[in-house]
């Protein structure tokens, strides 16, 4: 294992991207993710890469569309309001099946909100976000190490599925420092994408086309069902196929009378809560979705048979809780506790919620 270095989450994403062969970054600064473009502004020129601070988020995402179409590994990042601005381009990218990595270091919304950490972009992230029938693969790291690891994984998934991948983080994970062991650099070959506009192996008269426009209704319907099939393949791979262990972390669930559910930084707080519960004789467990779309429903379908309650905790008024309810399908009660506006729930107040459920007297 490589020697560990102390890094901010935002910077770890930047360095991991370079090591994954990303040579193009287009973005526009916004707190709390600006350390990422700042890092790449310095780092990409060292590896003959391209860093552009675009005139706007809309410009940046369309530059990503262009570089991705050419076959390059490319990324952009922003925080909530900036990601909203990028949605039109993300829809085009999903429609044209262009691989790329998108990073959202979520802050408090709606509107301009504030710069404190939040998880209130879950719906936007997991339901496509822009217009049209499409999905992005959504990864949810909970440590600086995973910010790096999931950046690498994100580029690989993006290429494999020809689909945008969204790394959904938050202000705490972006700003915090932890020791990280960085991945080994790879040599990425732009020519590995035979569909890419930059592919050099094609015949002189052959043309590659990347587009999301299908004016003929039959053609668009066929294209949409093709995308749908692809999303089904992704769902299968992440729920029962080769990525099923990647998709979710289970902690002490087997004998749990109550299972806490949370992603990202919340899952770390929940782990502390589980420890404290166990010390007090409450059999608590934790489910942490690491992939938010496709949602790891299968774990809930299985564990609802053995547990009595679920408690979903989010830094929002309750978004992922809907997916948990769909997965549990009314068979066990699903409770919710949330803080919003940039407030991080404390382990004490979550413990209090657990008490209310398992020890109502």
């Amino acid at each position: 294992m490589a020697e560990k270095v102390l890094m901010k989450g935002n910077e770890a994403i930047g360095e991991a991207a370079v090591r994954a062969g990303c040579r193009y970054y287009f973005g526009y600064p916004i707190t709390p993710q600006s350390e990422l473009p700042a890092y790449l502004a310095k780092r990409l020129p060292e590896v003959e890469g391209v860093f552009v601070q675009a005139e706007s988020e809309v410009a940046a995402i369309n530059m990503v569309y262009g570089a991705g179409s050419a076959g390059a590994r490319v990324m952009t990042s922003s925080s909530s309001p900036g990601v909203s601005l990028k949605q039109e381009g993300i829809s085009y990218i999903a429609g044209a099946e262009i691989p790329c990595l998108l990073v959202n270091v979520v802050r408090g919304g709606p509107g301009l909100g504030n710069i404190a950490p939040a998880q209130s972009d879950y719906w936007q992230a997991t339901r496509g976000g822009g217009h049209g029938d499409y999905r992005t693969l959504v990864l949810a790291p909970n440590s600086v190490q995973e910010m790096a690891d999931m950046t690498v994984a994100g580029f690989e998934f993006a290429d494999r599925f020809r689909n945008p991948v969204l790394l959904l983080s938050d202000g705490v994970l972006g700003q915090m420092m932890e020791p990280v062991s960085l991945p080994d650099p790879i040599d990425y070959d732009v020519d590995s994408k035979k569909w890419g506009l930059g592919y050099q192996g094609k015949d002189k008269n052959e043309r590659n086309l990347c587009t999301s426009i299908f004016l003929d209704v039959d053609e668009l319907e066929e294209h949409n069902w093709h995308l749908y099939q692809k999303y089904q393949v992704m769902t299968d791979l992440f729920s029962k196929g080769e990525y099923k262990d990647f998709a979710v972390e289970e902690h002490l669930c087997d004998d749990a009378e109550i299972i806490l559910v949370g992603y990202g930084i919340i899952s770390r707080i929940l782990k502390t809560v589980v420890e404290k519960c166990r010390k007090r004789g409450i059999k608590a467990g934790l489910i942490r979705p690491k992939v938010l779309w496709p949602f790891p429903s299968q774990v809930f379908e299985r564990l609802q048979q053995t547990t009595s309650n679920f408690l979903v905790v989010e830094m929002s008024c309750g978004q992922m809780v809907e997916d948990v309810k769909l997965a549990v399908n009314g068979k066990k009660p699903v409770y919710f506790f949330g803080r919003t506006g940039g407030t991080i729930p404390s382990d004490f107040e979550i413990l209090n919620e657990v008490d209310k459920i398992v020890r109502p007297d």
Binding site: L6, M176, R268, T272
Partner: protein, 184 residues
């Protein structure tokens, strides 16, 4: 049995080097083979505003890096004492900058140590190292990182070419440690 986890909050004015102080602790913890986390309270403030930072050092995997009940508070100015004094764990420690904080009486259920950080920093060669003086004082109270570990970690924290700067920092570190030692 020695401690297995230490949770520290440090706070002061923006410009007092609070985040760097946290980084000194985190880097030293990492260099001694322990798990560490560092979280800044980032806000729209710049110089003159308030800054604080949470660090966890642990022999185990760090579940929550959010510090709600610190073992130690390092307070660089009066507002920091007011904001965080009640959060210190019973039996915990307050290390305060007595150059800027007049107060003598705090909670009776915690250990208290006043360090004239600004004065000691000036003696070490730079007013700007008051934060490093406090890191030295912390070394006196830590059960998980000794003073030697801080000395060893420091070259990683000061960019290579600035050798004179490193010496001033090491002097500041030592002054903080000695001061805490003679007080306790």
């Amino acid at each position: 049995m020695g401690k297995e986890t230490e949770e520290i909050i440090m706070a002061g004015f923006g410009g007092q080097g609070i985040l760097f102080l946290g980084k000194v602790l985190a880097e030293t913890g990492m260099m001694t083979g322990q798990n560490v986390s560092w979280i800044p309270a980032y806000g729209p403030e710049m110089r003159g505003g308030t800054a604080n930072c949470s660090v966890v050092i642990s022999k185990h995997e760090i579940a929550s890096p959010i510090v709600t009940e610190p073992d130690t508070l390092i307070a660089m100015n009066i507002p920091s004492v007011a904001k965080f004094i009640d959060k210190i764990r019973k039996g915990g420690t307050l290390i305060y900058n007595s150059s800027l904080i007049d107060q003598k009486e705090f909670r009776s259920d915690i250990r208290v140590c006043g360090i004239p950080a600004n004065q000691l920093a000036a003696e070490a060669g730079s007013d700007k190292t008051a934060n490093v003086v406090m890191a030295g004082a912390y070394a006196r109270f830590s059960d998980m990182m000794n003073f030697d570990a801080f000395l060893k970690a420091f070259p990683n924290l000061v960019p290579g070419k600035k050798k004179d700067l490193l010496e001033i920092n090491l002097a500041a570190l030592k002054k903080g440690y000695d001061c805490a030692n003679s007080a306790h």
